[in-house]
């Protein structure tokens, strides 16, 4: 099984101009790999709504598109967003980082930890392009197919859980992040 850092390193190396929405654990890891005005670290958040934010951004800027780096606990809080995403045919790549834990609250198990088939949930919601990787080598080998494929797409990555973590702080306040993102998008 890969660590979250290893999993996101693979994506960061291949990212080419997409907006990236992080939340919870990924908001603490992605800034180690990227410092772009197109990164939006959604903290403080309404838990479970990073997918919605990424969908809105992608609908506004379909050519650029968005990566959403979601957690498994976040995904469970807003499963309906998979149906909404499928119905919009939007340029969104949703990454589900499945560590089986509410990591940012100290590492309590999520409901159904390690028993949930997020790939089948996504397919059942109507997402046609769904990928699963539980080893780093597989993810490295498959990432090009994922990135070059149609959207929306969902990638389910099984990653190691970490205990003793704290809620990450975004590198910049939300207001500053929004201003930077909008400037980079040329909308203000």
């Amino acid at each position: 099984m890969m660590t979250q850092l290893q999993a996101l390193e693979v994506l960061a190396r291949k990212r080419s101009g997409q907006m990236v929405v992080t939340t919870m654990s990924s908001a603490g890891i992605w800034p180690k790999l990227s410092d772009s005005p197109l990164d939006f670290h959604y903290i403080p958040s309404a838990m479970g709504h990073a997918t919605d934010l990424g969908l809105g951004l992608a609908l506004a800027h379909p050519q650029r598109g968005a990566f959403v780096l979601n957690g498994d606990g976040c995904m469970l809080m807003n499963l309906g967003s998979l149906v909404t995403l499928a119905s919009q045919k939007a340029n969104v790549l949703l990454i589900i980082l499945d560590n089986g834990l509410y990591e940012v609250t100290g590492g309590q198990p999520i409901p159904g930890a390690r028993q949930i088939d997020f790939a089948n949930l996504a397919r059942a919601a109507g997402i046609q392009h769904v990928f699963s990787f539980d080893a780093l080598e597989q993810w490295q080998a498959g990432v090009d197919e994922v990135l070059n494929g149609p959207r929306p797409a969902v990638v389910w990555l099984k990653v190691e859980g970490r205990l003793g973590q704290q809620t990450p702080k975004p590198p910049r306040p939300l207001k500053e992040q929004i201003e930077s993102l909008q400037k980079a998008l040329g909308v203000c």
Binding site: A46, L53, L57
Partner: protein, 160 residues
């Protein structure tokens, strides 16, 4: 009651680019106009909290969405509403159908929706106006234009 074609015309005159919604019985009558050839891109969500998150992304991306929902959905969406309006300071505009508003005024219903909708809007510190049978689509457009001018969030409570 504002008709669907009147609502769509008013929203288009304001430059609204997307409508996010879960319809109720009254707002549902706007569906043909919204989804018709002269409508506005319509994003159907599964729960109302989603609508606030998607609207936030659209606004950050330079678009002008409106959220249409029933007051029951407003109650459900509280945390997302709090986050996008008070943490992110985005000028969200919503039209909230207030179920049983007229029946409550006439003391012919036990529905508690009208009791709680306005206090909840005040608790969330969201300015709002109530549109009832005396108002027109021009009032809807006026409410939107005012919140845009003041660069803040706001709501129309639509009496049902």
């Amino acid at each position: 009651m504002i008709t669907g074609p009147e609502a769509v015309a008013a929203l288009k005159s304001c430059g609204i680019t997307h409508v996010l919604w879960i319809p109720d019985t009254a707002l549902g009558e706007w569906e043909p106009a919204l989804s018709g050839p002269d409508g506005i891109p319509l994003i159907r969500v599964c729960r109302e909290g989603e609508a606030f998150g998607i609207a936030a992304g659209l606004i950050m991306g330079g678009k002008k969405p409106v959220i249409l929902l029933q007051c029951t959905g407003l109650f459900e969406a509280g945390d997302t509403l709090r986050n996008v309006i008070h943490d992110m300071h985005l000028p969200i505009f919503m039209v909230v159908g207030v179920r049983s508003y007229f029946a409550y005024r006439d003391t012919t219903t036990m529905d508690t929706c009208p009791i709680y909708t306005e206090p909840i809007m005040r608790a969330w510190q969201i300015p709002y106006v109530v549109l009832d049978e005396r108002h027109t689509a021009a009032d809807l457009a006026s409410a939107y234009n005012q919140i845009q001018a003041e660069k803040r969030a706001g709501a129309v409570l639509l009496a049902e």
